[in-house]
Amino acid sequence: MTSFRPWFGLISILGGLLALNFAVLWSVLGDGSSAAPGESHLRFSQGPEIATLDPARIKALGDGRIAAALFEGLTVTDPATLSPRPGAAGSWDISDDGLTYTFHLRPEACWSDGDPLTAHDFIYSWKRVLDARTAAEYKGMLYPIKGAESYAKASEAGEAGETGVTAPDRLPQLGLEALDDKTLRVTLERPTAYFLSLAAFSTYLPVKREVVERAEAGEGGAGSWIVAGRLIGNGAYLLKEWTYKSRIRLVRNPRYWNAGNVRIETVDVLQMTTDLALVGYEKGELDLVMALPALASEALVRQMRAGRRSDVHLADNLATYFYRLNCRRGPLKDPRVRRALSLALDKRAIIEKVGRLNQTEATTFVPPNLPGYEAPRGVHRNIDEARRLLAEAGYPQGRGLPKLLLLYNTDEGHRNIAELAMQSWKKELGVEIELANLEWKVFLEEVQKGQYDIARAGWYGDYVDPNTFLDIFMTDGGNNDTGWSNERYDALIRQAADAVDPAARNKLLRRAEALLLEESPIIPIYHYVNVSLVRPTVKGFKTNLRNEILFSDLWLDESGGTEP
């Protein structure tokens, strides 16, 4: 049947394999399309992930940074001061009772396709955020606007019906009105001192109605307008190119009202893991890196402090690492036990041995030095007081206290901190702790279900005001998760929301935070910091509490020191 053909069989199999190999490799490699750097070209990295650039859906700070280049809100957060400054709105009037804001859009403000930017654009965009179909997780940022919360709830209720669509006309009145094409009147639910800061937030950015609606009606679906060539924004930059998971290329928008002052022509946002970014920076392939690996950060900061590097920037962040205490079960129901744990914890040791970036010890929950806010006294380590409280609660030297479960999501840093906490509580108070690490999603589930005694947590403030930290712990707050409920606290937060006078408001918030710290449903541990690498040729970079950055504020100066 077969004559003996020695070449058939093995040789052809191996030969075929080799040939296929080379063919595949040839087509996959040598594919690096690196455009020649133009005159002013910034290469930027902030980690590997970009979830979305749709302003209504943005949750991550990194995504917000890029969105801030593509779209411009009524106000813009100035990275140097973190105060709002005029953006798409050139000016505004605020009524005496603090409830009515009238924004005057710049006459020259327009979309990147040339169409003028109007007040209707903002109304549409904000309604879109509130519409249940958008499923915008941050829609709560719009709730200070009158009627916004009821609008959102009504929209959600409308979704339960079969027809699914509730016509906007039938929804309750929103405090939004276009007095004319260039004038937007916003009426608030209550005087919100930080509303101008909110107006700069990603969720408040405008999107172009025709573009979005065309996408939703078309084949690609609701997100298909967020690609290069289809995205229309009103920001300083255009989305020239987006190679998914590889690179976003932004180029200056010539139609931007302030294009004359935008000095960097091209910004490449390169998506890569933090260690790749570090290598890339050292090789001269990146100019500005805002997310770095933990170990490397430590070494860089040390070199900076020793005066050996001038391109390392360390910034305190508007964020706190803390432990939640489950107030619903066991001995932690007693605030004295909770306070004892809070007073006995050795936060210095945690920062020195684990954090190692000179983070600020957290004596309060709200990070320090917020403008206009005088922090309460805070929790300072006091072992004697801790022991006294524990004994008073009925557990002298920890006797009789059952083992407490400390949950954290799997991570070496969290584990080390948990171990240090366990040691200090055992040593100083005789309290026994059981550590358990869970995978992230399972961890979240357990915390939300209240299946823990102590749980690791972190919180990033959304805007520079204590309220973003303090309103979490109102009764039944969506992010409370501790079961702590205090009517006086709730009342203070609500009163602060209604206060017009900033001084009075800050006093109320201070009293609320003092109450929070005294009752100790949480133990603040330290405030986060962020380490960035900035090449000396990059000018205009300002560190700030929220790691915000505006590409349009930066420029490159090739003259001067070239040392990395």
């Binding site: 049947m1 077969t2 020695p6 070449w7 058939f8 069989g9 093995l10 040789i11 199999i13 191996l14 394999l17 080799l18 190999n21 595949v24 490799l25 087509s27 996959v28 490699l29 040598g30 594919d31 690096g32 979830a51 979305t52 749709d54 859906r57 949750k59 249940a132 179909r133 499923a135 915008a136 997780e137 829609k139 709830k153 959600e156 979704e159 679906g221 997100g223 298909s224 967020i226 998914y244 998971k245 590889s246 890569m272 893991t273 260690d275 790749l276 290598v279 995978e439 992230w440 999603k441 399972v442 979240l444 589930e445 939300q448 947590a457 972190g458 919180w459 969506g478 992010n479 998760d481």
Partner: protein, 306 residues
Amino acid sequence: MSRFLISRLLWLVPTLLAIYTLSFLMVQFAPGDPFSDERGISEETRAEYRRMHRLDRPLYEQYLLTLADLATLRGMPSIKYPERNVIHDLLRPTFPVSFALGLAALTLATLAGLAVGAYSAVRRYTALDHLFTGLTLLGVSLPSFVLGALLLMTFGFYLRLLPAFGFGSWAQLVLPVISLAAFPAAYIARLTRNSMVDVLPLDFVRVAQAKGVPGGQVIVLHALRNAFLPVLSYLGPAAASIVTGSFVVERVFRINGVGHHFVQSALNRDYPLILACVMLFSTLLVIMNLLVDLGYALLDPRIRYE
């Protein structure tokens, strides 16, 4: 022969269907919610998300719709990246990378393993044979990510001979491919050596030698060709080990391949992406095994009529 081929092809579908069903059920019953995050979301938002991703529909409907989306390659939106289609936007750009890597590793493993094994068998008990025996023992004992990390540190950082991370140039291929190929290569080498040791003393080899066929040809065309069968059988599991090894190796070398999506989607409970990845790899492996069977039939006339 064609009956053999057709029957093997027909088995493809039930196998893949079984894998899909099992994965679909496992994914539904795993603890953890795809939409949970440090910041809680309201019940209404969660309900809307579930509606968007068809999770509010009855199980059998989800099963069939997702099956249809995957089989027709239409794909569906990822849960973590709802603006991206799992097949077109997430897997299509990354698959060629992983495929190239895996194929290169498989080829290297096969060729190197065969060469080393054949040499060891022919030059039995020489110093080189002992050396190879030691190396192959190391190869089957070291996990790919340990080897990867060691190679990375040595050649990428200390000696700085090769690029440490990334994918795109031929030089960047070297370390990851070696890391992936080491285990299968070692295994194949040992298989080949044993197999060759059995085959070399056989009559037909002596006949070929007596006929005056040059030594090299005897080894490769006659002996190796027959000794190759166990190695061929192993190529299916070898492909599987390369696929699973690639998850970690891609992470170690920061290569943007499918492995990253596979691992992350599981951690994120991104059901559509998980299922797409599972089906992608399963299809690949099932086809690989089919090819192995075909190769068997090609090589061994005795198997041709099953």
